[in-house]
């Protein structure tokens, strides 16, 4: 039985030293991050979904369309799958201009399936001024933007991205990221985004498939996986929570914008986004301190109210991790173990989370 709202994966692919055993059901909407360390099998999984590698056994069904079913000997070759693939290196065709690169895929799909025009793809990635150039004369970031536009121009039903930013330096990453965020916001194309960068995932993903040693360690909505006590993500130094919110109002006098999130209202540096716009904020666990009573006369504007879920003492460390239920989302706070003990923090207690730094990530 296959459901048109899901990407259903049941794949076994293996060598003697490394095997991929993935059974998962991913939503056909938004961005699903395939997250894991190098060697966890993320890229292999993506290549199997695309058909660039043929998993020895299993099934791939995307939105009700079966791409592979080894029990029936069915294997749709990659060029017959309505997918877009963005490689780690943009891999533009060096013998074709940027425009020709973009047209390459678009010309190969029937006109009736062209839902994204070339102009639209060009505009979304901001590459209008590069069209007549040769790929050799582009920067790394520009190349990757052309690579993404080229994949979009085939109007894929599923866009697969294999660490599209990993080969870029920090500045180029910052150049390309907003475009990826824009795709997410403006196109209805579901994306599978392979990454080992928590910052990218927090910014772009709605769901997460967490791989470890070729198997699924966890899968679910981003906030739940990021804050799960059983997973290592919440215990990382750079542990971060993503909260979904909505811009409520702007305050020109103080140069602030207010965002409604579960547990309260956050003040951020003034943004140009209109009131009502759905946004996502990222909050690092180490930027969250806790108080048992509503802090009065504090310089910290951002206070959210919630209930402690649990307190996890990190072994061999002065730190404790507190998970707070904001009503619909979980916030992480890293405080000293001494504070946790002195405040007698435990599950069920009402707390006020004071947040030193909030970033609008989407």
């Amino acid at each position: 039985m296959s459901d048109s709202a899901y990407i259903e994966l049941d794949l076994q692919h293996g060598w003697t030293d490394f095997g991929l055993r993935v059974e998962a059901r991913l939503p056909v909407s938004g961005v699903t991050a395939i997250f894991g360390h190098s060697g966890s099998g993320k890229t292999t999984l993506l290549r199997c979904i695309a058909g660039l590698e043929r998993a020895r056994g299993g099934r791939v069904t995307v939105a009700g369309e079966c791409w592979q079913d080894e029990s029936r000997g069915l294997f749709v070759p990659p060029h017959k799958r309505a997918l877009g693939y963005v490689f780690q290196e943009a891999s533009l065709f060096p013998h074709l201009s940027v425009r020709r690169n973009l047209e390459y895929g678009q010309r190969r799909i029937p006109a009736s399936e062209r839902r994204i025009s070339l102009d639209q793809a060009v505009e979304l990635l901001g590459i209008g001024h590069l069209l007549e150039r040769s790929p050799q004369r582009l920067s790394g970031g520009e190349r990757q933007r052309v690579g993404i536009a080229r994949a979009l121009a085939t109007s894929p039903r599923l866009l697969l991205l294999d660490e599209p930013l990993a080969a870029l330096d920090q500045r180029r990453k910052q150049e390309v990221l907003p475009y990826l965020a824009r795709l997410h916001a403006e196109l209805g194309i579901p994306m599978l985004y392979v990454s080992h960068s928590l910052a990218e995932v927090t910014r772009l993903a709605d769901h997460m498939l967490y791989l470890e040693g070729g198997a699924v360690r966890a899968a679910g909505p981003l906030n739940r996986v990021l804050t799960s006590a059983e997973l290592p993500l919440a215990h990382l130094d750079e542990a971060e929570t993503a909260l979904e919110g909505q811009i409520e109002a702007h305050d020109e006098a103080f140069q602030l914008s207010y965002v409604r999130v579960p547990g309260g209202r956050l003040a951020l540096p003034l943004t140009e986004l209109p009131a009502g716009r759905a946004v996502r904020v990222g909050i690092q666990a180490r930027d969250v301190s806790l108080a048992l009573e509503k802090p009065q006369r504090s310089s910290i504007l951002n206070q959210l109210q919630g209930q402690v879920l649990d307190v996890l003492h990190e072994p061999d460390s002065a730190q404790s991790l507190v998970r707070i239920d904001l009503g619909g989302a979980v916030l992480l706070s890293r405080i000293t173990r001494r504070s946790a003990v002195e405040l007698e923090l435990r599950g069920g207690i009402q707390v006020y989370a004071q947040i030193k730094a909030v970033a609008l990530v989407n």
Binding site: P78, H79, K80, G84, H95, G105, I109
Partner: protein, 224 residues
């Protein structure tokens, strides 16, 4: 001055080399593609077979071709059954011999060019909806163009320079199988050194210019 006989040898040589190169480009491309992309265990075997003329004395190759193309050889039986008659001591026989003889000079540059392209451009093309055949013509051919030029030049030049195979299966028949290299040999045998100089000098200049063109082309390619 070269005589009319010399000029006819030159014309015959160019015809032979041109036709051989043409056939080799058509036959050699799929062989080179297979060798560059296959994971089959037979790859080593066929690679060695293609490369054999590089190390084999041309007279050995010519001898076996003569025997197998002859009236009692398997290829001879085939050509007779097809109504083509017997090929030894004909221009067609020379072409067949040259194709075998120059095969590695065409297949190896093509194979190297295909291998240099790697798997990635093919995968990219597949994710952009190009079938394998479409990919070959729209991606592989243009990317391997320098390899094709090198292969054609080497195939042509090497066929022009052959001697042993020609003598074995072509003999020395004016207008039909007497090519430049054989004609030079004849001149020297007859102590006609002046005539030999014309042709030998011409071959020297031709070979040098071909290689010069090839090396200039290849080094410019590398700088881009």
């Amino acid at each position: 001055m070269p005589s009319a006989v010399d000029l006819s040898a030159v014309r015959l040589t160019i015809e032979l080399a041109g036709l051989t190169t043409l056939i080799l480009m058509v036959v050699g491309t799929p062989i080179a593609w297979w060798l560059a992309t296959t994971r089959s265990r037979l790859r080593g075997l066929f690679g060695a077979l293609v490369a054999l003329p590089l190390v084999l004395p041309p007279s050995v190759l010519g001898f076996y071709l003569l025997v197998s193309l002859g009236p009692r050889g398997p290829l001879g039986a085939l050509t007779q059954w097809l109504g083509l008659g017997l090929l030894p001591f004909t221009f067609a026989g020379l072409v067949v011999g040259s194709v075998f003889y120059s095969m590695p000079f065409v297949v190896q540059p093509l194979q190297q060019a295909f291998e240099a392209i790697g798997k990635r451009p093919l995968e990219v093309a597949a994710t952009l909806r190009a079938s394998p055949l479409d990919t070959f013509f729209s991606v592989v051919l243009p990317l391997a163009r320098p390899g094709f030029i090198t292969a054609a030049i080497l195939g042509f030049a090497h066929t022009v320079g052959e001697f042993g195979v020609v003598l074995m299966i072509g003999g020395n028949i004016p207008e039909r199988t007497r090519v430049v290299s054989v004609q030079i040999y004849d001149h020297v045998e007859a102590l006609e050194y002046a005539e030999a100089h014309w042709l030998a000098g011409g071959m020297l200049v031709f070979s040098f210019l071909v290689l010069l063109a090839l090396y200039t082309f290849n080094s410019r390619k590398r700088m881009v």
